[in-house]
């Protein structure tokens, strides 16, 4: 048995064996280019289209509204830049709104559009739980607002935004709404209609699919322009030969996740609550980050007084527990997490964060090991006996 315990599923997940099985022949035997006219091309196109169908079913949208990309990051870039580029050509509206706890894929893209291309940018505050207040969004909307991008669930603190409530506000003013659902996919309902979103990003490796593959939902007929030139793949919106094996793998992974998500949610929520409750009880000067209930079933996140998050991760690794910290950085250059500062924590406290993210295969024994070891490690690091 592998005694290492993986509690970093928010960073990435293992590929499900069934997913792997679907992918392998697509590398070796059914390797055609979906654009080709012959037998191989037709088989690949069939697989590509079936995958698109699977994903569109999970998202409750049309197949031509799904664009495959190389990652969650590319989906986020394409969403913001595609909307921005079209707006630029129409030469009028140019204001965007994002939240202050977005992933860098959104945050840095929005900053890039602002600093290099002159877009106006509003960054919405969040409350102490990391939630965007609907009235803040309503107040931020201007005449020239074209797009709001607010993530569905946060990668660091797991907080889930009230997307349908927020998108109602933009709908009333005819403003497009994008959500980064990279963390949510596989754990939450992805129905774009009930969420009321016009664009949504997902990424395969967060729900037991392969890395390096993502998708962007783009609602039909919204003003959007391709940002990449080349062939006419993906409705002309994303040039480049489709990565059929990974696309099929991602589709299979999403299908599996959707079929079992109720059971997984019950199991993970219970283990997550055990983690949160025990850690808060056992460890002094420790606080939960994010919302107690409105959070991803797999995410337990904390900050500790008087602890360096980077060193905490190293110490946990020494004890065979894989976790992460908002401030952790492999090159020893810790910066306080933007997300934790946005929810009002001091930069000192923000440097002492821990994210434990469980997965569908995490078991009770593993959780028990973590909740016995963590208090010991923390008190050793604090130098308290």
């Amino acid at each position: 048995m592998n005694k290492r315990i993986y509690m970093d599923h928010a960073a990435t997940t293992p590929v499900d064996p069934e997913v792997l099985e679907v992918m392998i022949p697509l590398f070796t035997t059914e390797y055609g280019n979906p654009s080709s006219i012959h037998h191989w091309g037709q088989r690949s196109e069939y697989i590509l289209h079936s995958s698109r169908e699977t994903i569109s079913k999970s998202l409750n949208c049309e197949t031509d509204e799904i664009i495959f990309t190389s990652s969650g990051t590319e989906s986020d870039n394409l969403a913001l830049r595609g909307i921005a580029l079209e707006a630029y050509h129409r030469n009028k509206n140019n204001h965007m709104i994002i939240s202050s706890i977005e992933h860098p894929a959104i945050m840095n893209t929005a900053h890039d559009l602002k600093t290099k291309y002159g877009f106006e940018l509003t960054i919405l505050p969040v409350n102490q739980y990391g939630l965007v207040e609907p009235h803040d969004l309503a107040n931020a909307i201007k005449e020239n607002t074209i797009l709001v991008s607010i993530m569905y669930a946060n990668n660091e603190i797991g907080v889930i935004q009230p997307i349908s409530k927020l998108s109602e506000i933009t709908k009333a003013s005819n403003i497009l709404f994008h959500t980064d659902a990279v963390q949510a996919a596989g754990q939450l309902i992805l129905d774009v209609k009930s969420l009321g979103v016009d664009l949504m990003s997902i990424s395969g490796h967060k729900f037991y699919g392969p890395k390096g593959i993502g998708a962007l939902y783009i609602k039909r007929n919204i003003p959007f322009r391709s940002t990449q030139t080349g062939g006419s793949q993906e409705n002309g919106l994303r040039a480049g030969t489709e990565n059929v094996p990974l696309i099929a793998g991602m589709a299979k992974a999403l299908e599996i996740s959707m079929s079992r998500y109720k059971d997984d949610t019950i199991k993970m929520t219970q283990l997550r609550n055990l983690l949160i409750d025990t850690i808060l009880q056992e460890i002094p000067d420790c606080y939960i980050t994010g919302h107690k209930k409105q959070r991803l079933p797999n995410n337990a996140s904390f900050v500790f007084d008087n602890i360096d998050g980077n060193e905490l991760i190293m110490n946990l690794d020494i004890y065979d527990i894989a976790a992460s910290s908002g401030s952790a950085c492999k090159i020893g250059n810790p910066e306080p997490s933007i997300v934790l500062q946005a929810i009002g924590l001091s930069s000192n406290l923000s440097l002492g964060s821990l994210r434990l993210s469980i997965g569908r295969n995490t078991n009770q024994d593993q959780v028990n090991y973590v909740i016995t070891m963590l208090p010991k490690i923390i008190s050793k690091m604090r130098g308290t006996p």
Partner: protein, 356 residues
């Protein structure tokens, strides 16, 4: 349980072989590297030469090849406080500090050792050419077996508490042997710059650095000869070192050398080569490796610079922390701020900082 050992890794061949040797001996080894402060700057991209992204990547690759964990610890603030500020203060006060000694004392055998022990290690190992030996109940610091590579000088400020938790796995080998071992272990034999001295400067130009970071200490003043006659002007005493010939800026029949820097009168004293040379020096902040100061006069070999040859001398202790040294032969470049380190045979007894 197998002993856990932290290895300070630099990405260079020495520390890589050190890690491999320990791993082969069956220890539970993990690699560790410190992220140190560096002057923001173009040429180095604001990266300290001791822990540039390339060296981090190299160390990480080596650790992965050896199948050991590898971590990078942030030490920018402590390094700045105890090494960079020290460097600026000392230069400003007219002496020529040795930041590597300070770093070994406060950072490697301070911060890093402390963190390593806290992570469950019993020892910190490094790729230094030096040896530790336990004799009776005392820990000895010995020169590395490769005389040309010995680094004990820079380690002379540590003590029993540190040595007890220290391993130098490559100290008993020669550099050539280490290169062979690296090949045997299939490790890359990347050479680091021989000296990472002043690793935190953007451009290795300490004079420029001092101008920028301690402009107030750069007060122009008179240059005199040893008789006290003014013969020119200097641009700030921190810019000169004892024994220096080039860059004094005075043309004379015979080349002139820096003899002394008088901080109280802000005077630079220079003269002909024949005036150089001293065989008396006084030393303070003495560290005794054994933890037991010697009070009687004794014979020892003294090394006055990292790369200098050791010379025979009398050590004349004044008290636990201060002593005088009488060299058998005069030396031209005795430099206040550098360490005087004493040896008997292979054993480093300790060292102190040269005052005059």
């Amino acid at each position: 349980m197998t002993k856990k050992i932290a290895v300070g890794m630099s990405g260079g061949v020495d520390s890589s072989v050190a890690a491999a040797l320990l791993k082969n001996q069956g220890y539970d080894v993990f690699g560790i590297m410190l992220r140190l402060w560096s002057e923001p700057g173009q040429s180095t991209n604001g990266q300290n030469r001791c822990c540039s992204p390339e060296s981090i990547t190299r160390a990480r690759q080596v650790a992965a090849m050896l199948d050991i964990p590898f971590y990078v610890l942030d030490a920018k603030n402590v390094f700045h406080e105890s090494v960079v500020s020290f460097f600026i203060d000392k230069y400003s006060s007219g002496v020529t500090p040795n930041p590597c000694l300070e770093c070994n004392k406060n950072i490697r055998w301070g911060h890093l050792l402390e963190k390593s022990l806290a992570m469950g290690a019993s020892h910190l190992a490094t790729g230094h050419y030096a040896r530790v030996d336990k004799r009776g109940d005392k820990w000895f610091l010995l020169r590395g077996s490769d005389q040309n590579k010995d680094q004990s000088y820079a380690l002379s400020m540590i003590g029993q508490k540190e040595l007890k938790h220290t391993l130098f796995p490559i100290g008993k080998y020669t550099k050539n042997k280490i290169r062979d071992l690296a090949k045997q272990f299939d490790l890359p034999v990347a050479e680091r710059q021989e000296s990472q001295d002043l690793c935190f400067l953007a451009d290795r130009n300490y004079r420029r650095f001092m101008h920028q970071y301690a402009p107030k200490s750069m007060k122009p003043g008179p240059i005199t000869n040893s008789k006290g006659e003014k013969i020119g002007d200097h641009k700030g005493l921190p810019l000169y070192t004892i024994g220096q010939r080039k860059g004094i800026g005075i043309s004379a029949k015979e080349p002139l050398y820096v003899l002394e820097k008088n901080m109280s009168t802000n005077t630079l004293i220079v003269d002909k080569h024949s005036k150089l040379g001293k065989n008396h020096l006084s030393v303070n902040k003495v560290n005794w490796i054994s933890g037991d100061p010697i009070h009687k006069n004794f014979r020892a070999k003294v090394q006055l610079r990292y790369t200098a040859r050791a010379i025979s001398a009398w050590i004349l202790p004044k008290n636990d922390k201060e002593l005088n040294i009488k060299l058998d032969k005069p030396i031209n470049d005795i430099t206040p701020g550098q360490a005087a380190v004493f040896y008997q045979n292979d054993s480093c007894l300790g060292g102190g900082i040269i005052i005059t």
